[in-house]
Amino acid sequence: MMRQENDGDQEADLHASQDDMESLVLDEPPSSNGQSSPSASTSVDRHSATATTATSSQGFNSILEPPSYADAIFTSFDSSSSNGHDCPKPSSYQSEPPTRSEFLKIWVTDPQKELELSNSLVPGGTSYHTYLITTRTNMPEYGGPGSEFTVRRRFKDVVTLADRLSESFRGFFIPIRPDKSVVDSQVMQIEQFVELRRAALAKYLNKLAVHPTIKKSEELRLFLVMKGKLPLTRSVDMASRMLDGAVRLPRQLTGEVTAVTDVNEAAQPAKGGRDLLRIFRELKQSVVNDWGGVKPMAVEDDKEFLARKEKVAEFEQQLSNLSQQAESLVKAQQDMGETMGELGLAFVKLTKLETEGAMFESQTLRANDMKNVATASVKASRLYRELNSQTVKHLDKLHEYLGVVLAVNSAFSDRSSALLTVQTLSSELVSLQSRIEKLEAAASKIFGGDRSRMRKIEELKETLKISEDAKSCAVREYERIKENNRSELERLDRERHEDFMGMLRGFVLNQAGYAEKMANAWEKLAEETSGYAKDGS
């Protein structure tokens, strides 16, 4: 560490041209520092200059393993935040330990503008963007080690994928897809918007690729592998579903079409489905649950789950708060760096003034002092900027988990709606049962039988049977979702613990490391000005 800061660097810094001096705090650092940065990531002897204890430097050594942490923290000047325009590189910061044997990595690059062909009501056509999706993996589902695929997809395809995943994986914490954000695209430049979207897509797909269940899904595989048109059937949009449902409803009410929940449909949520009647029934049930004095048939019996739900809500609130404060912290660090740099520049100007045509030796001395102050300030400014860019990467985890909470809430609501289906069907069964009983009681009073009633009873008994089947299906589905919730919560606990501990360690190490570097710079200045020290300092 100390060997970086030799006089040669100092002189090079300050005898540069005026332009260079102006840009000292602006853009690229001088090459001298750029060369010495790789050594910083491996250097362990950086403590030699500072007064840290032996134990803490040992701790620092051990913390450098595994290498991913050190890389994450001290690869300061490199392109760790690449924009993925040229060579494929992960465009999001991964803190994933490289110990998983299966990997699935996705790159999103090369946005292209394409014209919408037929189906366009607007003459001249609209345009959209497509993105090149490159996948590298060693998973057997994709063909084993060394597999690589390239496809072109548009955002609509991603929406389709997300919709299909949420249908197939109810109860799982499915990563939230990027926003459609139509408004934004009108506010900012198209290029900017496309770049933001590209980065967001890369993040999203890689999150899917990391989810232990979803990474093996057929939907994802088709998305990543099949060239040409995306072979996933698009979930029909709400409007046409409602229309279909609306058409059926009168016939359901009149009994032409079965008004009973189909077995297959029982495994799907009512909302977004075509069965309007079912939607109404479940809505009625939920009202009964909330306002009726009677307890519903099946109840959320898992107290642990209820407590968990509350915990998640509280977690979300605190996380959101911390995330906000993290943003303020980042801003404060940035401001500090900027002001430090401006101070340095002001002293550079003063140095020049005192040097040019100095009339007294005291001026020359002072010029030298000011030059040293300028050097230290500019160095500190640069360090603050680096510190900050690393801090942003670490604290980004907080923002990320806000997204995870959304996924959790969505999975919880899958469970709730499945339960509602069960409850609704249970109520229906009860009411069917009682109707049958009433009819039977009435029929038995008529001597010789009541043919119309008997027919009705037969119909109802058939309906009952179908409904019973539907209910067991719904119950199975509900139990399945419950299980998914549970295993996902376990996974969340594990991963959250790991992720946040990593974040905290990284953040703290980062802060400590850069504080030490700054201390070095200031100690050097203190030494250079030690001649002015009052007694006892």
């Binding site: 404060a332 660090q333 500090m336 009339m359 946040f500 703290v508 400590a512 000005t529």
Partner: protein, 409 residues
């Protein structure tokens, strides 16, 4: 490196042959007096000296900020050419006027002010200084304050004074349009240097002040961040929660350190820079005085020349209409005036040359003094920043083993 300038008096004074003459002053014990809008701070000024003109070895008087201003005005009037030490500004912001930090900073600045005067070989002999340090009755100071002409205006008025002096140029006597200035290249260089210096220093001071603010802001955001982390830690519970709680606690600790350092930075770095700026402004006032004196000298020289021309004319012509006696009277009075003007002219020249001489001595003293002053300030700045950085590093490092122990594996 040059030692810090001692505060005892110059040893060249022939007044006390036996012991080393000294004059040391301290400004202490700020006390708030008066009520409401009229409230002000009074200070105890303690003088320790063996100068014969002073009453006894020790004397204590009570003075307020306006009294210091009075002293500065008097010195500026009497000692043209000498760079009179600058005073801290009057604070107009009501809320800030009585804050502990402000009062302390002002007290320090006033202490420095008086001691700079007391250690200046010429200024220390000033009668007004004696009055300031010795006069008991409040009444004396009241009376003096009432008469103060207030030449020493706000620093912003320096430029105005300078401009005023320059604007006298459209003087009919001189009959010129451009201002008369010395054609001394070295002095020109000095003037240019002084003006540039003020600009650059003001900029450095501005950024130093902002840096203080940034420290406060960073401290505040760390405190908020720490609080939020603690809340999240409480919500999480178990090992991870503990980690967040510890992080939060550390952040709050560091926040306090940052606030402390902000205050240190203000007192030990920003204030000396401000003092430097004020000192340069004082020099600008002296530059204006010098220009004034130069102009007077030139004006008088012109007037004298014209008078001589008139006198010659007068002597050569003989007017028949005017009687001989009247004519002789005219001659004589013109001659008298001419002599008086010459005396004045010599006086003006002497005044100007004194200022010029004093200035060149003062500039040496000034440069040396400032190198020392700034050297001290830079050293304190460096020490403060190093101290802060080290305690930040230590605090975070101390947290690391706890984070290790919290991991599940």
């Amino acid at each position: 490196m040059e030692q810090q300038r001692s505060i005892s008096g110059s040893s060249q004074s022939p007044r006390s042959p036996s012991s080393q003459p000294y004059l040391s002053v301290s400004v202490t014990d700020p006390v708030k007096l008066g009520n409401g809008v009229q409230a002000y701070i009074s200070y105890r000024v303690i003088t320790k000296t063996n100068f014969p003109e002073y009453q006894g070895p020790e004397k204590i008087v009570i003075r307020r900020y306006n009294d210091f201003v009075w002293l500065q005005d008097r010195l500026f009037e009497k000692y043209k050419g000498i760079f009179i030490p600058p005073l801290p500004e009057k604070s107009t912001v009501e809320k800030f006027r009585f804050s502990a930090e402000f009062i302390e900073m002002r007290r320090q600045a006033l202490d420095v002010f008086v001691n700079r005067i007391a250690s200046h070989h010429e200024l220390q002999q000033s009668e007004d200084l004696r009055t300031f340090l010795q006069a008991d009755e409040e009444v004396t100071m009241e009376r003096l304050r009432f008469h103060e002409t207030g030449i020493f205006k706000k620093p912003a008025d320096w430029m105005q004074i300078f401009k005023d002096v320059q604007s006298k140029v459209s003087d009919v006597v001189l009959g010129k349009e451009k201002p008369v200035e010395e054609s001394n290249p070295e002095y020109e260089k000095l003037k240019h240097y002084i003006f540039e210096l003020e600009n650059h220093l003001a900029e450095a001071q501005k950024h130093a002040y902002r840096l203080v603010k940034r420290h406060r802001e960073l401290g505040q955001s760390l405190a908020d961040f720490g609080k939020a982390a603690k809340l999240l830690g409480a919500c999480e519970g178990n090992a991870l929660g503990k980690a967040f709680t510890e992080l939060g606690a550390k952040s709050e600790t560091l926040s306090i350190k940052l606030q402390k350092e902000a205050q240190q930075l203000l007192m030990n770095f920003e204030e000396p820079l401000k003092d430097y700026v004020r000192a340069v402004q004082s020099i600008k006032a002296t530059i204006a005085e010098r220009a004034n004196a130069f102009r007077q000298q030139c004006e008088l020289a012109e007037t004298i020349k014209l008078k001589e021309i008139n006198l010659d004319k007068l002597m050569l012509t003989r007017s028949d209409r005017v009687g001989e006696a009247e004519h002789e009277y005219k001659e004589a009075s013109q001659l008298m005036q001419s002599y008086m003007l010459k005396a004045e002219g010599e006086e003006a020249t002497r005044r100007f040359e004194t200022i010029a001489r004093l200035m060149s001595e003062e500039i040496v003293r000034f440069q040396e003094q400032k190198t020392t002053d700034m050297g001290v300030a830079f050293h304190e700045f460096a020490k403060g920043q190093a101290r802060l950085a080290n305690s930040i590093a230590d605090a975070w490092r101390s947290l690391l083993p706890k984070l290790e122990s919290c991991s599940p594996v």
